[in-house]
């Protein structure tokens, strides 16, 4: 079942003198449960594509459908709600809320979704245990290592039970050991919860783990390899 359809998407940035074609007619689909990496050199359009998939940016042309919903048809506030329910984000620099504990960070989206306290507590602890941080639930981000923070970010992204998770260079700031741990956790969650993971990366360690690798260059897909 397709969770994501990208149809002939273009993104053109108009700077003062030149037009930059960051994404140039990309069409790809992602099925439920995929563990895919979008790779390519810097400036190839990976992050732009990811932003558009996540509804953070609009394509200049083309359509992006998430679970058959065309993102361009949604109003700004509906799009935010849609993101909350369907898309999880993992950022390169974790971006946890510094004043909240790991538990509160994970709980945060469920709070926005107005879920019951019981459900929130159960799901939060389930996710924190899944990322190996059940015992650090009450720690604030500043007390966690980079790898631990990124694991909390993954747990947060999963909290709303999204259709897929977009992870933009999730391992860029992590050492080898933390990267390995994080990737193992994400693989396990992918297998167990059937959640689609889409990474943008140029980290070979991530690429090796991915079951599908989409290579982009100059805003175009130059290869799409399923392993």
């Amino acid at each position: 079942m397709k969770v994501l359809e990208i149809k002939e998407v273009h993104k053109i940035y108009n700077s003062s003198e030149v037009k930059v074609h960051a994404v140039n007619g990309i069409s790809i689909d992602f099925e439920e449960g995929e563990f895919a990496a979008i790779v390519g050199p810097s400036g190839s359009g990976k992050t732009t594509l990811l932003n558009m998939i996540g509804g953070l940016d609009n394509p200049t042309e083309g359509k992006i459908l998430v679970n058959n919903t065309d993102l361009s048809t949604l109003k700004s506030s509906d799009l935010i709600d849609f993101r909350m329910k369907n898309i999880g984000f993992v950022f390169q620099s974790y971006n946890l809320i510094p004043v909240l504990t790991a538990k509160e960070n994970v709980e945060f989206i469920m709070n926005l979704q107005k879920r019951s306290k019981k459900e929130r507590n159960e799901r939060t602890m389930e996710l924190l245990n899944a990322v190996g941080l059940g015992e650090r639930a009450e720690s604030r981000p500043a007390k966690l290592s980079g790898g631990q923070q990124q694991r909390v970010a993954v747990a947060r992204a999963l909290a709303s039970k999204p259709k897929f998770i977009l992870a933009d260079e999730p391992t860029a700031n992590l050492d080898s050991k933390s990267t390995e741990t994080l990737l193992e956790i994400m693989e396990e969650l992918n297998r167990e919860e059937k959640i689609t993971f889409i990474f943008s990366t140029h980290d070979n360690r991530v690429v090796k783990k991915a079951r599908r690798v989409v290579t982009i260059e100059d805003g175009k897909v130059i290869s799409d390899e399923t392993r």
Partner: protein, 471 residues
């Protein structure tokens, strides 16, 4: 976690910034309240001084007297007129006065003076002249004795030199000027009294004798028992001349009056000016002195007083002072406005910085699903908390400070006091109690904070998530 809790937690992630912003609001409120209290308190005090030391709240005068103060514009005072006035429900007493001007002379000194014919007993109801009689006078001889007395504290002996020539009608001011610790009052007051204590005589109806302002006595070099000669023009052009024994010195809080006033018993003053049975004014002792009561009393009495007289209230009698205070009030408000402006820019600067610093965080929150309106409300709450912390803190500390200030006015002593007196002011800063101005100042600062919220709210509502995430 609800918005309120999250906003509160957010406040303390940059503790220093929060405290600096709250402190700027706190100081804005505190100083605005403090200075406003001082300003309003000083006005009240000056009004009270002017009213209680001279004019009273309401007077009956001959209709032309106020604009042309010649004794030809006096009116006949009768017992029946007095009774009609006293019949009014708001009048508790009448204070008859005969006021004119004369040239005073003593030895080689002369000075234009204000002659105030009073009934000393009745005057106690209003200007309380007897209470203003000089109790201590730091003559050169008294100062010498104080300086030589090794039993007295060194500070007191040092101060005595600086305040030589000063007269005091209150013990507190006397001791304060001599820097004497109030705790040692019982120990040293009798000694100081023996050196600088001053005995006054009485003036009473039918007996020639004068009380004069301490400033005037200093200028004229007059002491108790000396003779003061007064020369002037009497009623309907007659010659007025008389000599009077100085029976006492009066310390008027208003230096202008202190330097020129001569009190005579009212009947003696009438004799001097050949105006038997006449008065220039009757000041009224009122039960209720609020503006409405004064207005109503004036209207009622207008109907019972002779046609050649009229009612005049304290506002009309102190018109210039009121105008000066209104002008001063405006300049005070401008100063407070400038203070607000400085603080407003400080608060706004912090808000700008905070908004720029947290742009990425805003982007993340919107990206993961927080509605912009909800985010804006959290940030608004943060600013409101900071505002409330500052405003409530400022109000609380302001209220405590002002309450202390109300019961402990700032009294200047020594040279500082003399500087005040040179400008015709009593050397005293009085605070106005906590009143409606409290709410106004706090409201204005609160409004400033609310206006500063507009910026982050606009930024959040117009936030482009992709740009914010790159910040």
């Amino acid at each position: 976690m609800n918005n309120i809790k999250l906003a509160w937690k957010n406040l303390w992630r940059n503790r220093r910034r929060t405290l600096i912003t709250a402190a700027s609001v706190f100081f804005a409120v505190f100083f605005a309240l403090f200075f406003r209290s001082l300003q309003l308190g000083s006005y009240d005090h000056m009004y009270k001084n002017a009213i209680e030391s001279y004019s009273g709240y309401l007077q009956i005068q001959q209709e032309d007297w106020w604009n042309d103060k010649t004794i030809d514009n006096s009116f006949r005072y009768t017992d029946s007129l007095n009774e009609r006035i006293l019949d009014d429900k708001n009048v508790t007493g009448t204070i008859p006065r005969f006021e004119s001007f004369a040239l005073a002379s003593s030895g080689p000194n002369t000075k234009g003076v204000m002659v105030l014919g009073i009934d000393p007993e009745k005057e106690q109801r209003l200007s309380k002249v007897k209470d203003k009689k000089v109790k201590f006078l730091l003559t050169a001889k008294a100062v010498e004795k104080i300086c030589e007395d090794e039993n007295l504290p060194q500070k007191t002996r040092d101060m005595a030199d600086k305040v030589e020539g000063n007269a005091y009608s209150t013990v507190d001011r006397f001791l304060s000027d001599l820097s004497l610790d109030p705790g040692r009052r019982d120990e040293f007051l009798p000694i100081l009294e023996s050196y600088a204590g001053f005995q006054n005589g009485a003036i009473q109806k039918g007996e020639p004798g004068a009380w004069i302002g301490s400033g005037l006595s200093d200028y004229m070099e007059l002491d108790i028992g000396d003779t003061l000669v007064l020369i002037s023009q009497g009623y309907h052009g007659t010659t007025a001349a008389g000599k009077y024994e100085v029976k006492g010195l009066i310390k008027q809080p208003t230096p202008e009056l202190d330097n020129k006033v001569v009190y005579l018993p009212v009947d003696i003053a009438r004799q001097l000016f050949n105006a038997d049975g006449m008065l220039t004014s009757i000041a009224l002792d009122l039960k209720n002195t609020d503006d409405k009561a004064i207005r109503e009393t004036s209207i009622r009495l207008s109907k019972v007083i002779p046609g050649s007289t009229r009612m005049i209230d304290w506002r009309e009698m102190n018109e210039i002072m009121i105008q000066q205070m209104e002008a001063d009030n405006k300049s005070g408000m401008i100063m407070i406005g400038i203070l607000y402006l400085v603080i407003a820019f400080g608060v706004f600067g912090t808000v700008l910085m905070m908004t720029a610093e947290r742009k990425r965080e805003f982007g993340v929150l919107v990206a993961i699903g927080m509605q912009k309106t909800k985010l804006a409300s959290i940030i608004s709450l943060e600013m409101l908390y900071i505002g409330l912390l500052g405003i409530l803190g400022g109000m609380l500390v302001g209220a405590i400070g002002i309450t202390i200030g109300v019961s402990n006015p700032i009294v200047f002593k020594g040279e500082m006091a003399l500087i005040f007196e040179e400008y015709g002011m009593e050397p005293k800063l009085v605070f106005a109690g906590v009143g409606t101005y409290f709410l106004w100042q706090s409201f204005i600062v609160g409004l400033m904070v609310l206006i500063s919220i507009v910026h982050p709210v606009r930024k959040i509502l117009g936030l482009e998530v992709v740009n914010a995430l790159r910040a």
